[in-house]
Amino acid sequence: MDFLIPNQLNYPILSTLIFLPLAGALVLFLIRDEQVAKIWSLFISLVILGLSLPLYIYFDSSTYKYQFAEHVPWIPSFNVFYTLGVDGISLLLILLTTLLVPICILASWTYIAKRVKEFLFCLLLMETACVGVFSALDFVLFYVMWEAMLVPMYLLIAVWGGPEKVYASIKFFIYTMAGSVFLLVALIALYLSAGTFSIPQLMTHAYSFNFQVWIFLAFAVAFAIKVPMAPFHTWLPAAHVEAPTAGSVLLASVLLKMGTYGFVRFCLPITPQASIYFAPYLLWLSIISIIYGGYVALGQSDMKRLIAYSSVAHMGFVTLGIFIFNRQGLEGAILQMINHGITTGALFLCVGIIYERSHSRLIMDNAGIGKIMPLYVGFLGFFSLSSMAFPGTNSFVGELLVLIGTFTGHKLLGALTIPGVVLAAAYMLRLLQKIAWGGKGNTAFLDLNLREIIYLIPLALLVLWVGFSPGPFLDIMHASVNHLIEQLQAADAMALAR
């Protein structure tokens, strides 16, 4: 298989990254003591983080081919292989996942009081599924991992969630799975048409336009629900608000990226002509997401709901960058995926910190703590700046690239994103002002303790690193994005030639 570059390292690193969390989760069944369970899962997740660094160090940014590849027959009767590999698009997402899981475990140290072992079990299962989704290069493997992530997330919300957890968890599960079943039918149709489930090989086939349209629509429904794009976003506020902190962080930072990853990995290369055909609709839906998400966030009194709607808006920028089909847009979109993961993850962590103290997510119950918790408000302010794409922070680079790409491609759309950017500043500043100075704060609250500082600092450092020196991150994606654009241009030329 000439798309795959076999492993330079002498052990299957991707399989290890996928199955080590699962093994660690199974070991949890043998542990009786809760403290030991927490320490064990933190240890395992840090080990996995360490093991994922060679992916970055030994990554060859000059090629678009899939590296650290593994390719083993799985179900020969149906031509299903166990194929793994990373390229510039998926590498950063895997690293984001392995970074966030230890942070989530640290954040849940005192947050979760009952059934701690099972909570950690679900978190580690999520890590398995998420890394699997981003590294799978065979459609059946991808689908298994994609669906496998539903059950732990459902349990995270349904067992450890807030007051409306029943509603939120069922809505999340059914909405997401309903989209995914169409994905299943589409991938079977692709297999029957091309004879293979292998994603790189499926990209090389040219399908008829009608076939592409149906496949694209089936994929788009599943991914649009996941992203989420308005009007398929209604599960997100419920799920985010009711989930525990670690669940919200993983949901916002990793699960939402699976939708946009799906667009970039599947819709654009496999059904390029249909993507070009449907791009205007998706661009307009992105603009609607940006502006609608922003407006609704402006009116929220629940902190988590506000950040949830801000996620809808930020992901609107990502899909905007994807479907504008030029280099700046795509690179900006992929970078924004990472940035949003870092920033919104950090914001949810901040909300979790204050929730542990005040047991309320409402802004007015937490108002005015600026004098009492200065360190906390410092971090919150820093991450708010990042969320509104202040220059110097990571989101600025991402949004700038997306905006450059949008203006290059379509001036009207570019102009329409400006209100979205302004809205982001508006709702974040409103939140910050009320929390920091908006009232008489509860003097009983303690400022950040060492554990909380430890898990917020890496995220803050990343915000600054990507903000001031985005070069290394963008270099990783160059080859893959260029290859993707070539695939789109070839398809466009083919369509024009006919």
Binding site: I75, V144, V151, I170, F182, I188
Partner: protein, 472 residues
């Protein structure tokens, strides 16, 4: 006549006779249970040993090949698992335990005879043997409950009616083709299938097996019988007749030949209606056995997806899915039999807080429910993947989309079970303790569901090999 080919059946007859002997005196319950366990376990081993036998018996009316022996392994395995599951038979009167095991053995004997029969009258005899044993089993429930007699009468009447239709259809088939041997029917029938009388006859014959599989519109017996019979009996009825019913369906549907468009259309219609009806009605069920009954109607629809593709891969997919269904259903029935304290019916509310009361049972239920819903990486998902692929390959796009939508619908009620077990508080319901065999069985079922789902290649290849003899 090589009687070595007949070993599994003779053994099951021996098992039934042992319990007949036990029923003649006041045998202690513990002895009966240990005997049942030991004898059925040995039966599984015997069937595994005879897996590769092949030959014909009884004037070529009885064929032993990989297909039939494979199904016999599954049937004997199912019998063993059910006996472990319901070992103390708390809802059956202790005096009647030997009779209970005897009829279980006789019904399994009938089912194993069914999967090897390749001649219409032999099929009929085998089916009647298994059905009559079940007719007696259903009312065997302690007098404190009242639903079993009604269930028994419904089952007898429905069963007799569907058998009557089947025999009537057999008479038409015989009239058209002048033979009752399946081998010759496969040769002659495709040429005659265009005649309405031939098609009608074939559909009527298939009706008997649609009844066993609980396909709409032959499903009316299912919810009441599942709910009315004892929990252990229902675990048998929910899984075993479907195995044999599918085997015979696969043998008989090949008669029509791959060009039988009208028959395929009938199957498509039945599959679509079964899936949709089963899933929609299951949404409102509170009683667990009734819910599983409607879910079995839906799964019969899914299995038909594989049957109607009329090629080796589709048949293999159907066999895979019914095996996965056996495991998933037994996992759910294990929970039902354990949670029900005196053998009463279990409702979704009775599962409240099962996580606190018995973590292992809650996990078993979750795995079984998610597998039935078709969530990776369980065997239920892989089965659906294979079935959808086989059906879509033959061009049944609309049917596969209906199946996909139904999968999404079904999540709701399966999720309800998991929510009740994990998300709610026990509300004063007592803890459930499991003895060691039940614990081992739970773990084994969970492991089997995941193993079969993640590594299905060996099973699918075996199934394809078995089915290759069918279609040639």
């Amino acid at each position: 006549m090589d009687l070595r080919l007949f070993i599994p059946e003779l053994y099951l007859l021996f098992l039934a006779l042992v319990f007949f002997a036990q029923s003649l005196w006041k045998s202690p319950a513990k002895l009966n249970q240990s005997l049942a366990l030991g004898l059925s376990a040995f039966g599984v081993i015997l069937c595994l040993l005879t897996l590769n036998q092949s030959g014909e018996l009884f004037y070529q009316a009885y064929r032993v090949d990989l297909f039939s022996q494979g199904f016999k392994v599954l049937i004997s395995l199912g019998l063993f698992l059910i006996i472990v599951l319901g070992r103390d038979l708390k809802s059956i009167d202790e005096r009647l335990h030997p009779e209970y095991f005897m009829f279980l053995g006789l019904s399994s004997l009938g089912l194993t005879l069914m999967v090897s029969s390749v001649e219409l009258l032999t099929i009929f005899i085998a089916m009647e043997l298994s059905s009559f044993s079940l007719y007696v089993l259903i009312p065997l429930r302690k007098q404190t409950f009242s639903t079993q007699i009604e269930a028994a009468i419904k089952y007898i009447i429905f069963g007799a009616a569907s058998t009557g239709i089947m025999i009537f259809g057999m008479s038409y088939v015989f009239g058209v083709a002048q033979t009752t041997y399946l081998a010759e029917l496969i040769r002659k029938f495709p040429l005659l299938i265009s005649e309405p009388v031939a098609l009608t006859g074939l559909i009527m014959v298939l009706t008997g097996f649609f009844f066993k599989l609980a396909v709409v519109p032959f499903h009316f017996w299912t919810p009441d019988i599942y709910q009315g019979a004892a929990n252990e009996t229902t675990s048998f009825i929910a899984t075993m007749p479907k195995l044999a019913g599918l085997a015979l369906l696969l043998r008989l549907v090949s008669i029509g030949g791959p060009q039988a468009m009208a028959m395929i259309q009938v199957l498509v219609l039945l599959a679509a209606v079964s899936m949709t009806f089963g899933n929609l009605v299951a949404l409102v069920q509170k009683d667990l056995k009734r819910l599983l009954a409607y879910s079995s109607i839906a799964h019969a629809g899914y299995v038909l997806l594989g049957v109607l593709s009329l090629n080796t891969i589709g048949f293999a997919a159907a066999i895979y899915h019914i095996t996965a269904y056996l495991l998933m259903n037994l996992a759910c029935f294990l929970v039902i039999c354990s949670v029900s304290r005196q053998g009463e019916d279990v409702t979704v509310g009775d599962l409240s807080g099962l996580y606190r009361r018995s973590p292992l049972l809650a996990f078993t239920l979750a795995v079984g429910a998610f597998a039935l819903a078709g969530i990776p990486p369980t065997a239920g998902f892989t089965g659906k993947l294979f079935l959808f692929t086989a059906a879509l390959d033959q061009g049944h796009l609309a049917l596969v989309i209906i199946a996909a939508v139904n999968t999404a619908i079904s999540i709701f009620y399966y999720l309800n079970l998991v929510r009740s077990a994990y998300g709610q508080d026990p509300n004063g319901l007592p803890a459930v303790s499991l003895n060691v065999p039940l614990r081992l069985l739970s773990l084994a079922l969970i492991a089997a569901i995941f193993f079969l789902g993640v590594l299905p290649a060996w099973f699918i290849d075996l199934a394809r090999k078995a089915c290759s003899t069918l279609i040639s």
